[in-house]
């Protein structure tokens, strides 16, 4: 072994580091391209519409639950009112036949 072979190894090692730098450059370039793509796709109308569509479906489900609550309330009003119908009809009858109106 000689100094010359040592220099050769040093050169090889430097190439190895250079290769890593090149690879690092590629990694960063890929990341920047990905970032660009992310930002670009965000502003695409199609994507915006897709998101709105998903949101719309969520709100529609919420609205349906709300409407269902109102339906139940209307049914409850019918049920409880039904029991007082006779009393209400009697009030009307009395008022109609009252002399002082």
């Amino acid at each position: 072994m000689s100094i010359a072979s040592l220099l050769l190894e040093e050169k090889k090692a430097m190439l190895h580091v250079q290769e890593a730098r090149k690879r690092a450059g590629e990694i960063l370039a890929k990341a920047r391209a990905e970032a660009d793509q992310i930002l670009k796709s965000t502003l695409e109308e199609k994507r915006v519409q897709e998101l709105l569509k998903v949101f719309e479906a969520e709100v529609e489900r919420e609205a349906e639950k709300l409407l269902e609550d109102y339906r139940r309330r209307a049914e409850e009003i019918r049920r409880s009112g039904e029991r007082r119908l006779e009393e209400a009809a009697e009030l009307i009858r009395r008022e109609v036949l009252a002399h002082d109106i």
Binding site: L28, A31, T42, L52, E62, A74, L85, A89, I92, I101
Partner: protein
């Protein structure tokens, strides 16, 4: 320099080179992750500012529609019950009129007295329209009036549930006091009272 020393130097050269290469790649990976993460956050922010106002409007529209529809359902249920109470009351009043209940007799005779009183300042004749089944009752009531008044009252049959309609012969002054008329006239006032009974204080609207 011995071959062992040279070998040791070579190994040191490669150890340092590998270490440096690894660090370069690690830094690159970290930086790449940061770039992508930053882009995602920025994208999220951009998207939010673009979509949120539309989401807000959409939500207001859809939920607002559901609330409106729901309220209509509740109001319809209440109105339906109030109407049924009036229908039921009308049936009861029909039965009262047909059976000539005590309450109905009082109502009919009071209506008759009011009609007579309404026309008391006129010298002309008075026509009283009534349901056929009430004619006899009214005839009795007319019979109890002074003769100069009773012989100017004429009874006519009319297709009404109960009560009377009184009129001068030319129909210029007409006094209505029928069951149907009273129920319709009282409807706006009674709606609130009826709703209060049916729904415990809540209005029908």
């Amino acid at each position: 320099m011995t071959s062992e020393q040279i070998q040791a130097l070579k190994e040191e050269i490669w150890r340092r080179a590998r270490e440096k290469a690894e660090k370069i790649l690690e830094d690159a990976e970290r930086e790449a992750q940061r770039i992508v993460q930053e882009a995602k956050e920025k994208a999220e922010e951009v998207l939010r500012s673009r979509v949120e106002p539309e989401k807000l409007l959409m939500r207001r529209r859809i939920i607002g529609r559901a609330i409106g529809e729901g309220r209509r359902l509740v109001i319809a249920a209440k109105n339906e019950l109030v109407e049924r109470a009036f229908e039921k009351a009308l049936e009861k009043l029909k039965r009262d009129a047909q059976a000539k209940s005590e309450d109905y007799r009082r109502f009919l005779l009071k209506a008759f007295e009011k009609a007579v009183s309404f026309y008391s300042n006129t010298d002309g004749d008075l026509i009283i329209y009534a349901n056929e089944s009430d004619i006899n009752l009214l005839r009795e009531a007319i019979g109890k009036l002074p003769e100069n008044r009773s012989n100017r009252i004429r009874l006519e049959r009319a297709d009404i549930l109960g009560g009377i309609i009184a009129s001068d012969p030319d129909g210029r002054r007409v006094y209505y006091n029928t069951i149907e008329g009273r129920i319709e006239a009282l409807r706006p006032i009674l709606r609130e009272k009826v709703a209060s009974i049916l729904f415990g204080g809540g209005g029908s609207r």
